[in-house]
C-alpha cells in the first residue's frame, strides 16, 4: 500500500526538492521535462530519487527512475511508493 497521500503540502515539498536538485532558476511546470527543459543529468535524477526517499520515508524502486521525467510523473511515482 502506498505510504504518501499527495496533497498540496506534499506537492510543494516535492517542488522544492526538484528545484534544489535541478538548480532551477525558472518556474517548474507540472509537465516540463527535467532533462529536455531543465537540463538535468543522471546524477541529478538519482539525487532527486534519494532525497524523496529520505524526506518521505519511502522506497522508490530503481526501475521507477526512468519514469520520473517531470513533476507530474514524480508525484505519480511517489503516490505508489511503499514505506521504507
Amino acid at each position: 500500500m502506498s505510504a504518501i497521500t499527495i496533497d498540496e503540502a506534499v506537492e510543494a515539498q516535492v517542488r522544492e526538492i526538484i528545484a534544489d536538485a535541478l538548480e532551477l532558476e525558472e518556474e517548474l511546470t507540472r509537465t516540463g521535462l527535467f532533462v529536455d527543459d531543465y537540463g538535468a543529468d543522471s546524477l541529478a535524477a538519482i539525487e532527486l530519487l534519494s532525497t524523496l526517499e529520505k524526506t518521505f520515508g519511502v522506497t522508490i524502486e530503481q526501475d521507477e527512475l526512468p519514469k520520473m521525467v517531470n513533476l507530474e510523473a514524480v508525484l505519480e511515482v511517489l503516490a505508489r511508493a511503499e514505506a521504507r
Binding site: 543529468d41 543522471s42 546524477l43 538519482i46 530519487l49 534519494s50 522506497t59 530503481q62 527512475l65
Partner: protein, 406 residues
C-alpha cells in the same frame, strides 16, 4: 636509440576466484564466479547484500618487515601481489634492488576502508580523544606503492600511486611501459589494488548500480555491478634482459592509450571510449582487424555496457572480435580491475584460451558481441585489447601481444 620492447614476465594476483597466478588461471578457465555475501563490513540495512571478496588471505605471509597492522588491507594486497609477481617472474627482490625501477600502483579507494572505520567510531561517539596513530597512519593512499618498495627493499624504485579511479590499473601499466621502453627504468612493478569498502558500496548502491544477485555484463537482464576487492601486479622488463636471464614471457606489451572524456563526472562517452582504443592501437602499431580479443571494462551496468559496445563497434566495425567481461567472475575490483584484466589477457595469450563472460543468459541486442558466454574456449590469440574506464572520464586501453621466440 631505438625503444626497447617491453615484456610481462611475472604475475601476482589476489581475487575472489583465487589467489596466485595458478589458481587465478584455473578460475578463468573454469569460469568461476566469486560472488558471495558481504563479510568485510556490516551490510545490515542495505538492499543489496553481495560482493566479491578475497578469501584465504594471511597478511603475515606477505608482509614481513613491517608490522602488518600498520598497513591497511589494500596496501597488504598490494604488497602480497607484488611479492607473488616477483617470485612468479623467477626473480629475487635482491635482483631488482640496485637497478632503477618503478613501482606504480593504481587504486580507486586507497585505504578508504581505514577511514570508514575511523568515521564509524566517530559517528558512534566511540572515537578516543587521540586517535590511534597506527590507524591514521594507514590512511594515505601513496602507501600502496611505498609499502611494496619498503617490503621488498627496492632502494632504486620510484613509488607512485595513481588515483585514476576504476581505470587506474591500466594507467599504472602504461606508466611502467613508458619507463621501461625508454630505458628510464630497468624494470617495473605495476598494477592495482583495492579492498572492499563500505563507502564505495554505499555509493554505487545509492546510484542504483549494484546488482541483486550476479553481475551479468552484456545481458539483456543485467542489473549492474558487484563491488569487489583484489589486486593484480605485473613484472615488466625489457625483452633483452628477460631473454638474457631466460625468463618465461607471458606476453609483450605493445602499447597503450589514455584520454579523458572531459564530458560528465559519471556518464561515459562513446566517442571518447572509441578514441582511447584507437590511440592504444596506433601506439601499438596494430590494426583493428588484427585484434583477436577485447577484455572489456564490462561492468554490467546498463549504461557502461551499451556505451562500451557502441565504442567497440565504432572502432572494430560490425564484426568485432570476441569481447569478454571479467567482472562477471571477479566483480568490479575498482583500481585493480584493469590490472587484473591485463593479467588475464596475458594469461589468455600465453595459454591459448578465452576466459568467459559468466552468469550470461541472453545477450542484449544493444550489446551485440560474442561475449563467450559461460564457458572458456581454446583460441589461438595474437593480440588482446584490455579496457579500463572510470568515473571522471579517465579512460585507458592497453594492447598486449603473444610473445614468440623466433
Amino acid at each position: 636509440m631505438t625503444a626497447r620492447r617491453v615484456v610481462l614476465t611475472g604475475i601476482g594476483v589476489l581475487s575472489s576466484i583465487g589467489n596466485g597466478v595458478t589458481e587465478f588461471t584455473r578460475g578463468l578457465r573454469e569460469g568461476r564466479c566469486g560472488a558471495g555475501p558481504i563479510t568485510r563490513f556490516d551490510s545490515t540495512g542495505f538492499r543489496r547484500q553481495l560482493a566479491h571478496e578475497v578469501h584465504d588471505f594471511t597478511p603475515s605471509q606477505w608482509v614481513r618487515h613491517t608490522p602488518a597492522e600498520q598497513l591497511g588491507r589494500a596496501t597488504q594486497f598490494s604488497v602480497a601481489a607484488a611479492r607473488m609477481a616477483v617470485s612468479d617472474a623467477g626473480l629475487d627482490p635482491a635482483d631488482l634492488r640496485e637497478r632503477p625501477g618503478l613501482v606504480t600502483v593504481g587504486t580507486t579507494d586507497g585505504e578508504a576502508d581505514a577511514l570508514d572505520r575511523l568515521v564509524e567510531a566517530q559517528a558512534n561517539g566511540t572515537v578516543p580523544a587521540d586517535l590511534d596513530p597506527v590507524a591514521v597512519g594507514r590512511l594515505a593512499a601513496h602507501r600502496l606503492a611505498l609499502a611494496v618498495v619498503r617490503e621488498l627493499r627496492l632502494s632504486r624504485a620510484v613509488p607512485s600511486v595513481l588515483g585514476t579511479a576504476c581505470a587506474a590499473g591500466n594507467y599504472a601499466v602504461g606508466d611502467g611501459y613508458d619507463a621501461v621502453r625508454s630505458g628510464e627504468a630497468d624494470w617495473a612493478l605495476v598494477g592495482g589494488a583495492d579492498a572492499l569498502t563500505r563507502r564505495t558500496f554505499a555509493g554505487f548502491h545509492r546510484l542504483g548500480l549494484v546488482a541483486s544477485d550476479r553481475c551479468r555484463p552484456f545481458d539483456a537482464d543485467r542489473e549492474g555491478l558487484l563491488t569487489a576487492e583484489g589486486a593484480g601486479v605485473l613484472v615488466l622488463e625489457d625483452l633483452e634482459s628477460a631473454r638474457a636471464r631466460g625468463a618465461r614471457v607471458y606476453a609483450e606489451l605493445l602499447g597503450y592509450g589514455l584520454n579523458c572524456d572531459a564530458h560528465h563526472p559519471t556518464a561515459p562517452h562513446t566517442d571518447s571510449v572509441a578514441q582511447v582504443m584507437r590511440l592504444a592501437l596506433a601506439d601499438a602499431g596494430v590494426k583493428p582487424e588484427e585484434v583477436d580479443l577485447i577484455s572489456a571494462h564490462g561492468t554490467g551496468t546498463p549504461t557502461n555496457d551499451v556505451t562500451e559496445i557502441r565504442a567497440v563497434r565504432q572502432v572494430f566495425g560490425d564484426r568485432p572480435p570476441r569481447t569478454v567481461a571479467l567482472k562477471s567472475m571477479l566483480g568490479h575490483t575498482m583500481g585493480a580491475a584493469s590490472a587484473l584484466g591485463a593479467a588475464a589477457s596475458a594469461l589468455a595469450l600465453a595459454h591459448g584460451f578465452v576466459p568467459p563472460t559468466v552468469n550470461h543468459r541472453t545477450t542484449d541486442p544493444e550489446c551485440a558481441v560474442d561475449c563467450v558466454p559461460n564457458h572458456a574456449v581454446d583460441a589461438d590469440l595474437r593480440v588482446v585489447v584490455n579496457n579500463g574506464l572510470a568515473f571522471g572520464g579517465n579512460n585507458a586501453a592497453v594492447v598486449l601481444g603473444r610473445h614468440q621466440e623466433s
